[in-house]
């Protein structure tokens, strides 16, 4: 994203929250939605716009799991590792995902198609193991179903 565009987008988010320092986490959420991830320039803009030291913005951005300081793939895969999903075999699903995509958890596929990550419970435990891709919830996942499900995404 061009520097000017990034500055504008961050500015809009800051205005939405009335430059409230305490809204830092919500501001980072919205900024990440706009840009796709949180590049250094975005964190600098947020810090300057709020009057918060960059070190604090950086601390908050790296403390919370929701934020990514690296670009992410088009499709964000979240394998649920909540307890209910765990007792139904979620780690085998994750293993298979890693194998299929050829990447480790937390990484992107080289073509930036997929990002593979984990989440600790989305509250859909009846259908565990759960895999969420973008906004799609895929329930009752098994290692065998992984390849099929991934085919649905371009």
């Amino acid at each position: 994203m061009a520097a000017k565009q990034l500055k504008e987008k961050v500015g809009q988010v800051l205005e939405k929250y009335q430059r409230d320092k305490s809204a830092l986490i919500d501001i980072l959420h919205d900024t990440q939605s706009e840009i796709g991830y949180l590049p250094k320039e975005a964190l600098e803009e947020v810090g300057q716009g709020l009057g918060v030291p960059l070190s604090r913005v950086y601390s908050v951005a790296t403390f919370f799991k929701a934020f990514s300081l690296k670009p992410r793939g088009r499709h964000l895969i979240n394998v649920c590792l909540g307890t209910a999903c765990h007792v139904r075999g979620a780690d085998k699903v994750l293993e298979q995902m890693e194998k299929e995509l050829g990447i480790k958890t937390g990484g992107n596929t080289p073509d930036l198609k997929f990002t593979l990550d984990t989440v600790n419970c989305v509250g859909a435990c009846a259908l565990g193991p759960m895999v969420i891709i973008g906004e799609d919830y895929h329930g009752e996942m098994t290692p065998e179903k992984v390849s099929e499900v991934l085919k649905n995404y371009n």
Binding site: D26, F63, F64, K65, C121, G123
Partner: protein, 563 residues
Amino acid sequence: MAKLKSPGELEALRSSILKKRDPDKPCITVCNGTGCQAYGSKNIAAAFQEEVKRQNLAAKVDVKTIGCPGFCERGTLVVIKPKDIFYQRVRVKDVPEILSETIGKGNVINRLLYTDRTTNVKVTQEGEVPFYKRQMRLIIGNNGLIDPTSIDDYLAIGGYTALAKALKMTPEQIIDEVKKSGLRGRGGAGFPTGSKWETTRKAIGETKYVICNADEGDPGAFMDRSLVEGNPHSILEGMIIGAYAIGSHEGYIYIRNEYPMAVRHMRIAIEQAEACGLLGENILGSGFSFTIKIKRGGGAFVCGESTALMASLEGRVGEPRAKYIHTSEQGLWGKPSNLNNVETWANVPLIINKGADWYSRIGTEGSKGTKIFALVGNISNTGLVEVPMGTTLKEIVFDIGGGIPKGRKFKAVQTGGPSGGMIPESLLDLSVDFDELTRAGSMMGSGGMIVMDEKTCMVDMARYYTTFLEGESCGKCIPCREGLRQMKYILDGITEGRGKEGDIELLEELSATLIDASLCALGSTAPNPVMSTIRHFRNEYEAHIKEKKCPAGVCTFEAVKVK
């Protein structure tokens, strides 16, 4: 909608809403909670709406999307009112038939009915479904009656009557009532709610805050999700009453980022309440003003801890602080703050409406009212279960939960999430009661109840929870950060075949340090899964260490294989 300026205007609005509704007109309610959405419920609701339009049936039948009523195992749930015909496992292809057969001809579709496992009889009515019948669904029952994005629906079932009643009482009277009810916090600690309100009210300072903890970090627990998604107004009503009693004019609802629908529905509810004058300046003409803001979490289990949550609300990292001075005295921005869990707030309108005497007759001596549990894992009926305190674990797991599927045997049930403990078969007669569960080495926790069968390895579960907690530790204090790191190494070793003599003792020693020296409850309760599995399943640990065997057949002992 014009702002309501008095309780009288509220009642007038309610009457006018009810007048426009025909209680006899059939209404197809489709569950649209996150669980059922994973089954494709959005398509089902859309299909119904399309078909009704296409067949020109709008005059004959309404279609409504509702929040999660809790029987998640059987989603998508469709209940046809007013007869309460209960259809389960509904798919899009069933939609035309439901309209033509059930709405058109009044016939029930047998294959969509629930079959009672013991009698093999098909159940037609929602209230007769054994899963629901054995519960006392005082709080979650309302989820089935309303579209959570409609304040009219909430008003139609009597919503905000408690608020109108409370505004006619004095703050002291309200606090007294909540104290008398015996309500204890539903977030896990079980602190007496009325006392907390009283302390906050009495604390020094003009500015006070009221906070709702909707972070629900325990993996496998989704009671709060279903309440925020399915009946957001009930939480708002509880908070406004609480704020009035405490003397607070500013409230926050902290919702975990992993619950986008909950955030959306709560936003809509707040907008609606503000439009009606139920939030904002001069609520119902009482002179009391109160506003609520939503703030999202960032994906940190530790932010379920009250001081970490407040740090997060202030825009800082979720680092807890010592609680030698309570947050009721010095909380958010150093001001007196009252933090309660979602379910706690949802109980308040009930207590005000029905009275403390009525409420305190439900439950046990030390634990009043009902509790919603998320019954998940290796269980036949996965879903949300609301029972009076004092119900035994056996009843919940077997009578309501339907026991263990695939013909397997019950092994243990984990209550209290990562801060709780395993309860083996020998203790299944324990009743859900704050003090009884704590005495047994577990705790009530927020309500997560994870059932495990014989193919679950208890050492693996201890390793799972320790890994989870290590990843969620904020990293501030040495015992939690370094202690969990080392405990994880040991447990990884045991499950991979590298366990050695002395490992159990070292785990126990580390556990004692975490319990005594940790800064917050994440660290001090982190040893519970490990300690309770050592206590009740020590033989499994020993098999892993001495014989390099996993009795449940889960651990693959890579290290031994490589050798």
